[in-house]
């Protein structure tokens, strides 16, 4: 497992940010895909917004934008039907064969 997966397994969602051009590099990488300079590891923001969503069985899932250039697919916990642009908070992240992100709606 790489550093990203190891940290995620411990519940830490970390991302990489270029030390030079400050771009988020995602998926995480030791160097920047734009300028090829080194990156630093830092915790991802834990608040994002829903770009789009759907539902399988009783579980909402969707594409969440956490920061510029940082989007992930995750479960969305919501009592009501979610909406696009709705704010969500990262409730849980983990790694077991795949990465796993669970978000919770925090505003309507």
């Amino acid at each position: 497992m790489n550093k990203f997966e190891n940290e995620l397994k411990s519940g830490n969602f970390i991302v990489t940010e270029c030390l030079d051009c400050k771009q988020i590099v995602w998926p995480a990488s030791d160097f920047c895909s734009i300028c090829h300079n080194s990156t630093k590891w830092r915790n991802a923001n834990n608040v994002g917004k829903i770009i789009e969503f759907s539902k399988k069985n009783d579980k909402y899932f969707g594409l969440i934008e956490i920061e510029k250039n940082l989007r992930v697919m995750g479960e969305i916990i919501s009592e009501k039907t979610p909406e696009t642009n709705q704010k969500v908070k990262l409730k849980e992240s983990s790694f077991e064969k795949t990465s796993k992100f669970i978000f919770e709606v925090i505003s309507n």
Binding site: F4, E5, W26, P27, A28, I51, E52, F53, S54, K55, K56, F61, G62, L63, R71, V72, M73, G74, E75, T84, T98, S99, K100, F101
Partner: protein, 368 residues
């Protein structure tokens, strides 16, 4: 640069059969020998395999099995568009003069590993294609007010057209109502809106203008090629536009000096119903109307211009074979050999093949 054309082809039945990839590849390659006049093993200078299978050294294995000792032989993998990628490599070898005659054989077995891109951590646990298919569909409904009926028409049309394709996985017609009421996969996808992974193999023989007339009186030329890879990660995608397809099509149209109005028949990568609606728009095939009205009109008038062999939804989707099977369909159409599927007087055709939620696309223009 030498002109490169299709000199022969062969394809297996697409099925649920569990068969070794090595055997599957041989099956369609043998057909090329059986149906191409004057073809002998010693004339072939290249054997390229396209597949997502984990088996190794398949170019050499296929070459040995069919008795060819090629100068160039290897395997190409690019997920769902492996087939057209392999054909473009073969085209380039021939156009540059490195080879004259290349056999391209693509295939995959049901359950192949190409359906999930494990590297893409941005997909989280939602790494099956049904999840991006659902988000594409939901976003299309939101932006274009697309209805479930309009989506179902794509599937009804393609299942109907697949009935006249002897190699297709499905030979069963479905009404719009049956599709709209088929098994729920997600809130935005029914099972009959999805293409189905299956086993299958397809082969094309490519040859230079210097030698192609030895094998066929009706060569079909690859006149335009466009490819674009935007990313590997799904999460970087726009959800309502296939931007890699737009870019690839512009290059293909320009290379072949073709405008979208010139296209008589097209094979479109309908991994899900919504993909056909998105692709016909992004390939500029629907500039006079909306994509949904364009497809509805084709369905109502039984016009097979889009996906005459039934698309991925009707014919099945054995990843490494799909792009090659699409090329074979356009070749048969332009040779006036497509039987019940024939579009009258087809002169130019287009192939659209893409991978991983259109993070990359290939567009080819073929002409007689």
């Amino acid at each position: 640069m030498k002109k490169v054309g299709i000199a022969g082809y062969g394809s297996t039945q697409f099925s649920k059969n569990e068969i070794a990839i090595e055997e599957l590849l041989v099956e369609s390659a043998k057909q090329v020998f059986e149906t191409t006049p004057n073809l002998s093993q010693n004339l072939i200078n290249g054997v390229i395999v396209s597949t997502n299978d984990n088996s190794k050294y398949l170019g050499a294995i296929l070459s040995e099995r069919i008795g060819v000792k090629p100068k160039i032989s290897h395997t190409i993998e690019h997920l769902c568009s492996s087939g057209t990628n392999a054909v473009i490599s073969a085209f380039s070898y021939i156009a540059s003069g490195l080879a004259d005659i290349i056999l391209v054989t693509g295939g995959d077995v049901i359950g192949n590993p190409g359906q999930v891109l494990e590297w893409d951590k941005s997909r989280g646990e939602f790494n099956n294609p049904i999840y991006w298919g659902s988000l594409f569909t939901k976003a299309h409904k939101r932006k274009f007010s697309t209805t479930e009926e309009e989506l179902a028409i794509v599937s009804a049309k393609n299942h109907k057209q697949a009935m006249d394709n002897p190699n297709s996985y499905s030979h069963k017609p479905y009404t719009i109502s049956q599709i709209m009421n088929s098994k729920i996969i997600t809130d935005d996808l029914r099972i009959l809106d999805c293409s189905y992974p299956c086993s299958g193999s397809s082969s094309v023989l490519l040859a230079s203008e210097d030698v192609i007339k030895k094998f066929t009186d009706t060569p079909i030329w690859i006149s335009g090629i466009g490819q674009k890879t935007n990313s590997a990660s799904f999460a970087k995608n726009d959800l309502t536009t296939l931007s890699s397809t737009i870019s690839a099509s512009k290059d293909a149209y320009a290379m072949s000096n073709t405008i979208p109005d010139d296209i008589d028949v097209a094979e479109i990568h309908d991994a899900f119903s919504v993909c056909e609606l998105m692709a016909v728009k992004d390939l500029s095939l629907t500039e006079k109307t909306t994509a949904t009205e364009f497809i509805r009109n084709l369905f109502n008038t039984e016009d097979r211009k889009i996906n005459p062999r039934g698309g991925l939804i009707g014919a099945g989707h054995p990843l490494g074979a799909t792009g090659i099977s699409q090329i074979i369909e356009i070749t048969e159409q332009l040779q006036n050999r497509a039987k019940k599927r024939q579009i009258s007087d087809a002169k130019k055709g287009l192939v659209h093949n893409m991978s991983a939620a259109a993070t990359s696309s290939t567009v080819l223009i073929l002409e007689s």
